[in-house]
């Protein structure tokens, strides 16, 4: 049953994703891309869970590597997006 629920969630999220972004001004294409790129670093949660429950040493280190990579993706992605959007705002004044 849990599986069906997750598939349901997946399908709903697909539609939601398509609906969320329809008309984006081209000025925002880059921030949108790098901002959503940072969100895809959510796999950091997967890395924590995988690293956390792993007993064999291979899995543990795979999880550790995933943790580092995903964290780079998340932290770098959010910061660089913020930096870009900061530049856009500056000229608004």
């Amino acid at each position: 049953m849990e599986l069906i629920l997750l598939v349901f969630v997946f399908v709903m999220a697909v539609f939601l994703g398509f609906e969320l972004i329809q008309k984006v001004p081209s000025q925002l294409h880059t921030p949108l891309m790098s901002g959503s790129n940072a969100i895809s670093g959510i796999t950091v949660v997967g890395a924590l869970l995988a690293a956390g429950i792993v007993e064999g040493s291979l899995g543990k280190w795979l999880g550790f590597a995933a943790l580092i990579l995903a964290t780079i993706n998340v932290v770098g992605g959010y910061m660089v997006t913020d930096r870009m959007l900061g530049m856009f705002r500056k000229k608004g004044k």
Partner: protein, 462 residues
């Protein structure tokens, strides 16, 4: 505790949804980014409270902290240090890391269990692992190749060889075959082969795609990294991964489609087309390219009432955006109306030119989208094309045999005169001859774009 964690994941998912929504509008974009980062923070902190994560056997909190610190350190360093002109490479690289992380999560889950017989849904989990590895692997090496192409470490041109499509299809089918073997038998070697072939497929998939198509490829890979995260979510049955990954996947596809439309091409055409390889570029062009000195250009600009800048990738390479801004200011003080016309696929990533001009503090009101600027093109005295090529090639509108026929362009050939800033006489990135450069109204100003514009600025100052 379990309920608390799951409810927190729902909150995080909602914040991601709001965040993406807000990123789509100029006024709220920065807050949107902040909103989704708060969602991420919540998701990470709550995960650390999970009983499985903090029991004694596993990766200790110390190691987790070390991992987070290393990752955050590298991320912060790269985000602070990068030049705005290097943005496409950096986004590609981050993207690749995300894909690799998803691959590793899938792999780690298998390494932990050895098989999925204890899992509630053994077959489904194995399929999800194959999928996470496949998409994550393609995202990783594909982004890496894109990074190398964008940063110039690898030639930007399309690498095409005979039988390429057959080879790619064969690799893909072999990969699926091993995937099936893995799902059925649970053999580790089959998974390793799937990993290796996915990585190979990412390389093979991106090398035939030329630099001009990079905006499409980058947004497509971005979408892929989301799908990989979503697949990893199915491996560990985690809803926040599924939702967040899926949102990125879907919104990435939308952006990809926008990019394709701006080039009047289909996604399949970009991915499998091997652009330029088949085009007959031997068409005869009438007229000749007429060069103009910076000094003469200055006299024309001094008298101009209306000027449009059309930046392209060449402006990014020459880092000319600050000089452009300075020239635009001087022209405005001179009583001239200045606009910057930005083609949706100018540069190497979606919105590339907007980022550069924003860095140089160009006022937002001066940035025009293609359709708005085409409507008034005939009243423009001088259109200054800075390192743009295909996006101003009139062949797209007039020459039905051209490979880019039908692609919407900025109609600078309708302006009263055109200055084209270019490094040399060679054809553009796509290898296409640009008939604009041979027209009666067009004058070529050869040399580094930044030096040319700085030269114009100093002419005005004297």
């Amino acid at each position: 505790m379990e309920y608390f964690i799951n409810i927190s994941y729902i909150v995080a998912s909602a914040l991601f949804i709001f965040g993406i929504k807000m990123l789509g509008s100029a006024d709220t974009a920065r807050r949107g980014n902040l909103t989704s980062s708060i969602g991420m923070l919540i998701a990470v902190i709550v995960t650390l409270l999970n009983r499985d994560v903090n029991d004694g056997n596993s990766l200790s909190f110390g190691l987790i902290a070390v991992g987070l610190l290393i990752g955050a350190g590298i991320g912060v360093f790269a985000a602070k240090k990068v030049q705005m002109t290097g943005m496409p490479e950096l986004v590609a690289l981050f993207n690749g890391f995300g894909g690799l992380a998803s691959l590793l999560v899938g792999w780690a889950e298998f390494a932990k269990e050895g098989n999925f017989n204890n899992s509630e849904y053994p077959v489904f989990t194995a399929v999800a692992v194959v999928f996470a590895v496949l998409v994550g692997g393609i995202t990783f090496t594909g982004s890496l190749i894109a990074y190398l192409k964008l940063s110039g470490k690898l030639g930007g041109a399309a690498t095409v060889f005979p039988g390429q499509k057959v080879l790619n299809a064969a690799v893909f089918l072999t990969l699926l075959g091993f995937g099936v073997v893995f799902v059925v038998t649970g053999a580790a070697w089959a998974l390793y082969l799937v990993i290796a072939l996915s990585l190979l497929l990412g390389v093979l998939g991106v090398i035939p795609i030329g630099g001009g198509d990079m905006p499409v490829v980058i947004s497509f890979l971005n979408s892929f990294s989301g799908i990989a995260a979503s697949a990893a979510g199915f491996v560990i049955l985690n809803n926040v991964l599924i939702v967040a990954g899926c949102l990125v996947g879907a919104s990435g596809i939308i952006l990809t489609v926008i990019m394709c439309k701006a080039m009047n091409r289909t996604l399949a055409d970009v991915l499998f087309g091997g652009f330029g390889s088949s085009s007959s570029t031997s068409q005869e062009v009438e007229g000749e390219m007429k060069a103009l000195t910076v000094e003469d250009a200055f006299y024309v600009l001094e008298a101009a009432q209306s000027v449009i800048f059309v930046p392209g990738y060449g402006m990014a390479v020459a880092q000319a955006q600050h000089a452009v801004k300075e020239l635009a200011e001087i022209l405005e003080d001179n009583g001239c109306e200045v606009r910057h016309a930005i083609h949706p696929v100018a540069g190497r990533m979606p919105g590339h030119m907007n980022v550069l001009l924003a860095e140089a503090d160009v006022p937002y009101e001066q940035l025009c989208e293609m359709d708005d600027v085409n409507a008034i093109m005939e009243t423009v005295d001088v259109a200054i094309v800075i390192g743009a090529n295909d996006v101003v090639n009139p062949a797209a509108a007039e020459d039905e045999s051209s490979p880019i026929y039908g692609m919407p362009i900025i109609n600078v050939h309708q302006a009263k005169s055109v200055f084209a800033l270019k490094r040399g006489q060679g054809a553009g990135f796509s290898g296409l001859v640009n008939t604009l450069f041979f027209r009666e109204k067009t004058r070529m100003i050869y040399g580094d774009a930044k030096e040319t514009i700085t030269g114009l600025v100093s002419q005005f100052k004297d």
